[in-house]
């Protein structure tokens, strides 16, 4: 469920939203195993999205868009699944403030521009 109406309107905005989420997760400094695992998994998922966007840059648009969309399905699901857990961690890890909105932007942006 979306908590922010500002869905990225194009691929560059989707990339910017994914990059902002990646930066936030990379700067989080979890201090126990459970939080660290959740941040790590979210980072892996958003990293997979950015990797697909980087690859998509390197490939021709028509065939690559379908490949990128298919490869984004699992990381998007992972991010959606982790949203509640990350929101819980944000109570302890200041860097993750407002993380739910950031996850929504990425998930909704990717869903809109890379139909999976």
């Amino acid at each position: 469920m979306s908590t922010d109406s500002s869905i990225p309107t194009d691929i560059p905005q989707t990339r910017a939203a994914a990059q902002a989420l990646e930066d936030k997760l990379a700067q989080a400094n979890p201090t126990n195993l459970a939080d660290s695992q959740a941040v790590c998994t979210a980072l892996e998922a958003v990293g997979a999205l950015l990797t697909q966007l980087n690859r998509q840059d390197l490939l021709s648009r028509d065939g690559a868009m379908q490949e990128a969309a298919a490869a984004m399905k699992d990381p998007l699901q992972t991010l959606s699944d982790l949203k509640d857990q990350l929101t819980g961690i944000s109570a302890r890890v200041a860097a993750l403030v407002n993380i739910a909105n950031d996850v929504d932007k990425v998930v909704n942006g990717c869903a809109k521009h890379f139909p999976v």
Binding site: A26, Q37, C40, E44, L50, T51, N54, D57
Partner: protein
């Protein structure tokens, strides 16, 4: 005495037919610097492939108990057709640099001709392949520009040139070399905006997060020394990421310098002195040396 010696040397060079025009001399110097720089460009792709594989490896280790191992999970970052296109374009630039040196040397070199011809044909084949369209797309460049640049480079390598054609070769190759360098520069990208530099950042952020998770997951079983060693790897990862990003940025700068120096060389066709070319050549040589030393250090780690 010194005047006599100088006059004798000039006479000797004239008699032996070894006179080299200023343009040929500059082309030879450019060739040496350009060859060194292009050799390093290939390493930029290798560097990011390694960080991408490393990130997948640490994730595999941390998640092995829950996810096991599936060979399809480990993939290379660059699709093979896209990598092949870039390898051929870099080889084409190297061969162009070699061609300039050989043409400037006044010597017909059969082996070089054969090598150039083979590479030229493969570049012409590349000019209409899907691999090249991916390069053009990544640089936000019209596919036609990329195709024309690669085709022109291929054509010049196939034709057998002589010294008197050097000015023509330089004019003809100015735009193709500019375009190819621009395509490769765009591949390297920026840390926040995409390309190899962004992928490097994403990979290292994952490596750091995975290392932290590994420490929390295993610290109860570690001796104080083992724990210290694992914790010390965190700042090492940060340092390596910074060094590698600097290397990629220097590779971009070298590509820019290569194109600019090639332009200045072409523009100096009718000049005896060429101060603008000299300044850019010095920059190209410096960039090439800097990248070389960093790649050497990185690859030996």
């Amino acid at each position: 005495m010194r005047v006599q010696y100088g006059a004798s040397l000039s006479l000797l060079l004239l008699v032996s037919g070894c006179s080299v025009t200023p343009l040929e001399q500059r082309a030879t110097e450019f060739s040496t610097a350009a060859t060194a720089a292009t050799l390093k460009v290939q390493n930029a792709y290798q560097l990011v492939e390694e960080s991408y594989i490393d990130a997948q490896m640490v994730s595999l280790v941390n998640n092995f108990d829950t996810k096991g191992f599936n060979a399809t999970q480990i993939q290379s970052f660059m699709p093979s057709a896209a990598m092949r296109a870039r390898t051929q374009m870099i080889a084409g630039l190297q061969q162009y640099a070699t061609l300039l040196a050989e043409v400037s040397g006044n010597e017909p070199v059969t082996a070089l001709d054969a090598q150039s011809e083979a590479l030229g044909k493969s570049l012409q084949g590349l000019s209409d392949s899907t691999g090249l369209s991916s390069v053009a797309k990544s640089a936000n460049t019209d596919m036609g520009i990329a195709s024309t640049a690669v085709d022109a480079l291929g054509r010049i390598l196939i034709e057998h040139k002589t010294a008197k054609e050097l000015p023509g070769i330089l004019s003809q190759m100015q735009k193709p070399v500019d375009d190819i360098c621009q395509l490769l520069e765009a591949d390297i990208g920026t840390p926040e905006g995409g390309g190899l530099r962004n992928q490097l950042k994403v990979d290292y952020d994952r490596l750091i997060a995975e290392q932290r998770t590994y420490i929390y997951g295993n610290e109860a079983k570690m001796t104080p020394d083992e724990r210290r060693t694992e914790i010390a790897k965190l700042p090492q990862l940060v340092t390596t990421e910074q060094q590698d990003d600097v290397t990629l940025a220097q590779t971009q700068a070298a590509l820019k310098a290569l194109a600019a120096t090639n332009d200045a060389l072409a523009a100096s066709k009718n000049s005896k002195q060429a101060p603008a070319f000299r300044a850019l050549l010095a920059e190209l040589e410096t960039e090439g040396q800097q990248i070389g030393s960093v790649y050497k250090a990185t690859m030996s780690n």
